[in-house]
Amino acid sequence: MSGHSSYVPKTGFERWLDARLPIIRLAHDSAVSYPVPRNLNYFWTFGGILMFMLVAQIVTGIILVMHYTPHATMAFNSVEHIMRDVNYGWLLRYLHSNGASMFFLAVYIHIFRGLYYGSYKAPREVLWILGVVILLLMMATAFMGYVLPWGQMSFWGATVITSLFSALPIVGETIVTFLWGGFSVDNPTLNRFFSLHYLLPFMIFGVVILHVWALHHVGQNNPTGVEVKNVAKDTVPFTPYATVKDLFAMVCFIFVFAYFVFYTPNFMGHADNYIPANPAVTPAHIVPEWYFLPFYAILRAVPDKLGGVIAMGAAIVVLAFLPWIDSSKVKSMSYRPIARQLFWAFVVVCIGLGWLGAMPAEGGYVIASQIFTVLYFGYFVALFVVGLFERPKALPNSIADSVLGTLQGGSGARMGTAVAAEPNAKG
């Protein structure tokens, strides 16, 4: 997609600047003339929504820091000070805390879109891995941010999650002590988490730039998974087509976001976090935020401490290897009858794990968690196996064909798409 630039400087200043710092050309090429497949559905608007959420979190976060005090004895009250005394402080704080949830909601939809449409496959492997890196950074950021109000859940969440590292042989205990900066979770822990919570979003921003760069280099995937063949016929310019569509989707998403912020702002939170941190009392039911629940369920499903940590880590890291695990050359699961069912089963497994993560770790829940954990990893195995024999449906010749409804199926279409024919030959 890169290469030829359609930017023509109009004024003398633009020509002058273009010869020295072609920044307007960059903006024009990546946000105006950049060709977008014309058949993208609304699931493709989540990239833009995520960009919005990242910026919104950074803006509200920087403002909250102006009023927040990172100290074990003052953090809780300073958050309440924001909620009570700062002008619109309640709004900014609810935007930020609910924003984290909405950020994850968007990122999970974004990821599942990528899984369904095979957006991780060549030539988008690096794009995908950068995405996994962003996910990991987001998790770290969200976790440390949740510690900052220094409520009961903050404190005990920090205790439990940092203690995960003690599972590591030999170095575990030392790592935990270094994370804490003491012999328990205390003020030094809060201070370093605060520091990192401020730093990581900018690291996310950096990786996002790489993510977008990679995207603009290889071009967007699309619901057919067929690459762009004729730019004039298969694509539309980013502006105004994608811009206005992204904007519309963004406003719809903000509608949901605003609903939570204004009408049920504590729905995603835990009541226990309105109790100041107390190292002497653990809440009866420690649960992470909803977006960590599936991974938390996997952690608890494994009876061995180290094993649980490894399983949880593997559940995320395995995503990075997906481009090489999925053995099918067909990207979009719309054309893969078996894999598509696997995908939906995987969605159900993830939701099921999320639900199990919120349940107490006892009796039937543990067994169910173990079954679902096996199913979770089973998806990746199944995807490899299914790709070897699955007979995909006929792919359209081109994006334009799929949109305009010309040449549906038939041998002609299949011959036109070598990628689709290849797995057939295997099978």
């Binding site: 803006v59 403002i63 102006m66 009023h67 000070h81 009570r84 005394d85 700062v86 002008n87 619109y88 402080g89 709004l91 900014l92 310019p237 502006t239 105004p240």
Partner: protein
């Protein structure tokens, strides 16, 4: 892009109106977002409320002595002036001052000996010297700001140097005897 959608004139007007309305709504939305982002910068409710009036008894301040105190986080000087200082402050030709103001207007009638002024130089906010016994008081028996060399007289008025204005008078009143209420 010009020929993207406008095929008929009527359609193009409708499109223009739609674009205009959408753009206007977007601007309104952005404007509304700015309100909380900016107004959070203003003093919060507790800071405003904590600025309640404070009471102070001036009796313990001996003649020639000055004290410092804070109201709303701002520094205030209270000075018990000597007869000489009062006379000096009143002898000067008001019209010749950089910021003309009579000494009578800067103290409360019947309590001429007490001068209550904000304690930050009107130039760039440093604290002028002159409260402690050994401090330089400038050329006019008042205060001298060491940062950029402003001289204030015994009425807290700027006499020489870069500061443009007299030291302002905080809102205060004598309640009974030597007791004052600031705020």
């Amino acid at each position: 892009m010009a020929n993207a959608t406008d095929t008929k004139p009527t359609e193009s007007t409708r499109r223009d109106f739609l674009m205009l309305a959408t753009g206007a709504a977007g601007v309104v939305g952005l404007g509304a977002v700015v309100v909380p982002l900016v107004s959070q910068l203003a003093p919060d409710a507790q800071t405003v409320a904590a600025g309640a009036p404070i009471d102070l008894d001036l009796a313990p301040i001996a003649e020639g002595q000055a004290i410092k105190l804070f109201w709303r986080g701002k520094l205030i000087f209270v000075r018990h002036r000597t007869k000489k200082e009062i006379d000096e402050a009143r002898a000067v030709n008001v019209a010749s001052l950089p910021d003309p103001q009579a000494d009578q207007a800067r103290v409360k009638e019947g309590h001429e000996q007490f001068l209550v002024v904000y304690g930050n130089c009107t130039h760039l906010g440093c604290v002028p010297l002159g409260n402690n016994p050994g401090d330089p008081k400038g050329d006019f028996d008042g205060w001298f700001c060491p940062c950029h060399g402003s001289h204030y007289d015994s009425s807290g008025r700027i006499r020489r140097g870069p500061a443009p204005l007299n030291l302002p008078i905080p809102p205060y009143a004598f309640t009974e005897g030597t007791k004052i209420r600031i705020g």
